[in-house]
């Protein structure tokens, strides 16, 4: 430890401490969780009961359960009783299967007012578990900035006040300094994980959390993001500067599986598949999710200029080969937890920053994923990879969600180009599509809480309301072009031509995020789910199947971003049946239980329905909140219609509309009427399949079947059963 870091360590003031006997992991659980109250500076070790494990499994399930018990229906995100819960899950922390080190973060979102859940990499969740806790539950608010430190070897938890002269506020510094501060030496850095955010999270509602891990080969701290919904905003509101966990001694047995051989068998099969097939399939090891840029552009699904369009001739400048050749360091084991041979967490080394407070510094950037490239790049009409990496770095270190940031800037740019806002509103910034300097300036303003950045930092929904209220903008048009639902910004796929994906986005529990369902190819390209019932079945199965990852500490990507060579010849290839068998095997291998693939869906269905009911508790969760903006369903403007005139004209003709001599405006109206009607029929079919009422509320019968018929649940949903 350098002298300076040692001094800073000593300057942290101990406010409270808990000494405990670390609980041993047994079949994926320690059976205890840690509760920390920042208002009272108190701790409590809670038992994790068999009932909790049976109903909620872990991860997101535990987070929702603790949060449900902590908040009232009137609780707001910045009330002290709101909590941040971090939990991995029973499988989280195994080293033998790719993508098994994830943590779920749950809190009440500043954007939606409902629970948000994020699934994040980095080492925190597994090291927390090996330190003796299945979950960390943080409630209350500190008066001054604090850190919470957990030493899993010593059995010590402290709350410490950050000294006034500790001038690190942003993640790339905080994660590095705290790793240095708490590691005994260079070798020990791998045993430390830091959760932090940045100044952007303090001054916006789109703050996110960075979970660190030490990259032994690069000798650098890396970060992965719990990106969506404002988790970082809540974190900074609680005056948490960082959470640090330290645990030495990770091995392949740390998660104490019931039958390790099952994990070895499944893991070796998948490692071999990735070794043999990744280079022929998605090249995740070379370029990560960036390969999607060209795929989406080719299929007219890449968001361009606030999702007006789905492709652009300049998109080639953002293609994965550009990132591979000019930016991503190759041949590095880029997994965000041990054993992830998919290794998609790409990084740009020695990137020299050109703007902002860290201008001139050379940094390691965890960049860039597809969502970020599409969000901050093409959706804003910016086709410059250098800009993408710069914006990615600043979003990360400021603690700002790149998906929401991209969406916000794209929306503001469209408003600017249409004359809805002007330089008076933007503080002199010419916020036209493609203006990267202006976009970066807004980002820096967000971090400082100044100027237009302050308005933009409220998110698309509140920014729209502000434009309507203060500037008299047309609320209907602005609603049509604002890519948000439930208050959360859309992630970056154009869903206009896929009805199933429109539902995949707007029928989500937390808001429009593709991690629940990505059905565009199945629906639009391969036409495998033609009827409402087929789409409803897909919108039942896939959101539930994908929920399961966040209950268990797993990543979605190794499920279908690599497929066995013979997958296409299997029944229901979209489900990747062999990998589903792997998940059954590793769940049983860890827990010693004997579940089937049907049980995977049942486990998720409990939590998914509980989350839906949680939305209801918070005053949402009914049909009216499942309505998407029209931009996600079809062309809003004449130029959008005309950009795909052939497709839309043909569709109308095939449907029996007489379009002879009709103006584009008239055709727009016809198409809209048709598509909005289709969406309502889809919603009916999905609710029916999910066992919900026409208003989107789980029926009493359903919650009884699922075993989540707690008195408070029954009392709540009883009011909505007609």
């Amino acid at each position: 430890m350098t002298a300076n870091v040692k001094e800073l360590r000593n300057a942290h003031k101990l406010l409270a401490k808990l000494e405990y006997q670390p609980f041993k992991v047994d079949k994926g659980y320690t059976n205890h969780s840690l509760y920390v109250n920042l208002t009272d500076k108190t701790f409590e070790i809670k038992p994790v009961t068999e009932q909790m494990k049976e109903i909620f499994i872990g991860g997101r399930g535990f987070g929702l359960w603790y949060l449900w018990n902590a908040v009232k229906s009137t609780t707001k995100w910045n009330d002290p009783e709101n909590e941040i819960i971090i939990s991995s899950g029973p499988i989280g922390g195994i080293t033998q299967y790719p993508g098994a080190g994830k943590s779920a973060v749950v809190t009440l979102s500043p954007l939606t007012g409902c629970p948000i859940d994020c699934n994040v990499g980095g080492y925190f969740g597994p090291l927390l578990k090996f330190s003796g806790f299945d979950a960390l539950e943080i409630q209350g608010k500190a008066e001054k900035d604090v850190i919470i430190f957990i030493d899993g070897n010593k059995g010590l938890v402290t709350i410490e006040e950050v000294p006034d002269n500790f001038e690190y506020y942003d993640t790339h510094q905080l994660a590095e300094v705290y790793t240095e501060m708490f590691a005994d030496d260079e070798f020990d850095k791998r045993n430390v994980s830091v959760v932090s955010s940045g100044r952007g999270a303090e001054n916006t509602l789109i703050g996110m959390l960075n979970f660190s891990f030490y990259d032994v080969k690069r000798k650098a701290v890396r970060v992965k993001q719990a990106g969506r919904g404002g988790t970082g905003t809540v974190f900074r509101d609680k005056k948490i500067r960082a959470l640090i966990v330290k645990y030495k001694g990770v091995t392949g047995d740390s998660n104490a599986p019931a039958d390790k051989q099952k994990l070895i068998n499944a893991g070796l099969r998948l490692h071999r598949e990735i070794y043999e097939l990744d280079k022929l399939q998605n090249r995740m090891r070379e370029v990560g999710t960036a390969h999607l840029v060209e795929v989406m552009n080719d299929y007219d699904l890449l968001p361009v200029m606030n999702c007006q369009y789905g492709s652009h001739p300049d998109a080639v400048k953002l293609s994965s080969d550009v990132f591979k050749e000019k930016f991503f360091t190759q041949g590095m084991p880029d997994g965000c937890w041990y054993g992830c041979s998919m290794a998609c967490a790409k990084a740009v080394d020695n990137f020299e920053l050109k703007t902002g407070p860290y201008k001139g510094q050379k940094v390691v950037v965890d960049a860039a994923e597809y969502e970020t490239i599409a969000g901050v790049g093409s959706d804003c009409g910016i086709f410059d990879p250098e800009y993408v990496v710069e914006a990615n770095f600043y979003c990360d270190t400021y603690g700002i969600d790149t998906i929401s940031f991209g969406n916000i800037i794209a929306f503001a740019m469209e408003c600017y180009e249409r004359g809805i806002i002007d330089k008076e509103v933007t503080g002199g910034l010419e916020l036209k599509f493609g203006n990267k300097e202006a976009a970066l300036e807004v980002l820096h303003q967000m971090a400082r809480g100044e100027g237009f950045g302050k308005i933009a930092g409220m998110g698309v929904k509140r920014m729209r309301e502000y434009f309507v209220e203060k500037l008299g903008a047309d609320p209907k048009f602005l609603r049509d072009i604002s890519l948000e639902c439930k208050g959360l910004e859309y992630s970056h796929y154009v869903s206009k031509e896929s009805l199933a994906q429109q539902g995949g986005y707007a029928l989500t529990n937390k808001g429009p995020q593709h991690d629940e369902a990505w059905l565009i190819f199945m629906d639009m390209v391969n036409k495998q789910i033609p009827t409402f019932e087929d789409k409803a079945e897909a919108l039942h199965y896939f959101p539930l199947f994908r929920t399961w990852f966040s209950l268990n500490g797993l990543c979605k990507l190794p499920w279908n971003d690599i497929e066995p060579a013979d997958n296409a010849y299997q029944p229901e290839p979209n489900k990747v049946p062999e990998h589903v068998r792997n998940y059954v095997e590793i769940f049983n291998g860890v827990t010693g239980k004997n579940i089937t693939k049907e049980d995977i869906i049942k486990q998720s269905e409990r939590v998914y329905n509980f989350q839906r009911i949680f939305n209801l508790k918070m005053g949402y969760g009914t049909r009216e909140y499942d309505m998407p903006p029209y931009r996600s369903m079809g062309p809003v403007t004449i130029e959008e219609y005309e950009s795909r005139k052939e497709r839309y004209d043909k569709q109308l003709k095939d449907l029996g509309y007489d379009i002879e001599g009709k103006t584009t405006e008239e055709k727009l109206k016809m198409l809209r009427e048709y598509r909005e009607n289709q969406y309502q029929q889809l919603v009916d079919a999905v609710y029916k399949r999910r066992g919900w009422t026409k208003n989107g509320v789980p029926t009493i019968e359903k919650v009884k079947e699922l075993g989540i018929d707690f008195p408070e649940v029954i009392e709540l949903i009883s009011k909505y059963q007609d």
């Binding site: 080293t95 033998q96 032994v216 051989q261 893991g267 054993g339």
Partner: protein
């Protein structure tokens, strides 16, 4: 450096090499804990494949804990203090020459010590420059 090379046509499948190997590496005579594996060919009973690491080093960059390294003599070795038992290297070995045992955290891998060669009664394995 010298590595283990094979003449499978001379192999009788006696398994002495595996016992010698596991004894050297893990202090136990257990073929399942051996880094060299003798497997009877399914299609030709009485004939054997001999699988052993050729120290090509393709596994070294796969490891994200730097547990795999080139020893000064050129052999690819595993540092058990760094290994977290993920077995990525096992899946990424071009020759599938590493193996795994649930009681042992790290993969089981040849260290080019030659104990197996000394135990072989037929000369089916021998040491030769890499």
């Amino acid at each position: 450096m010298k590595i283990v090379k094979t003449k499978p046509e001379l192999c009788t499948g006696c398994g002495a090499c595996m016992l010698a190997c596991s004894k050297t590496l893990h202090k136990v005579e257990d073929a399942k804990k051996s880094a060299i594996r003798v497997i009877e060919k399914k299609e030709e009973p009485g004939k054997f494949d001999i699988i052993v690491c050729n120290h090509c080093g393709e596994c070294v960059p796969v490891c994200n804990t730097e547990a795999l390294y080139f020893a000064p003599n050129g052999a690819v070795r595993i540092d058990p203090k760094k290994c977290v038992g993920c077995y990525m290297c096992v899946g990424f070995c071009p020759n599938m020459a590493m193996t795994v045992h649930p009681e042992i955290n790290e993969p089981i891998k040849c260290i080019a010590c030659g104990a197996c060669v000394k135990a072989c009664p037929t000369g089916a394995i021998y040491m030769e420059e890499k």
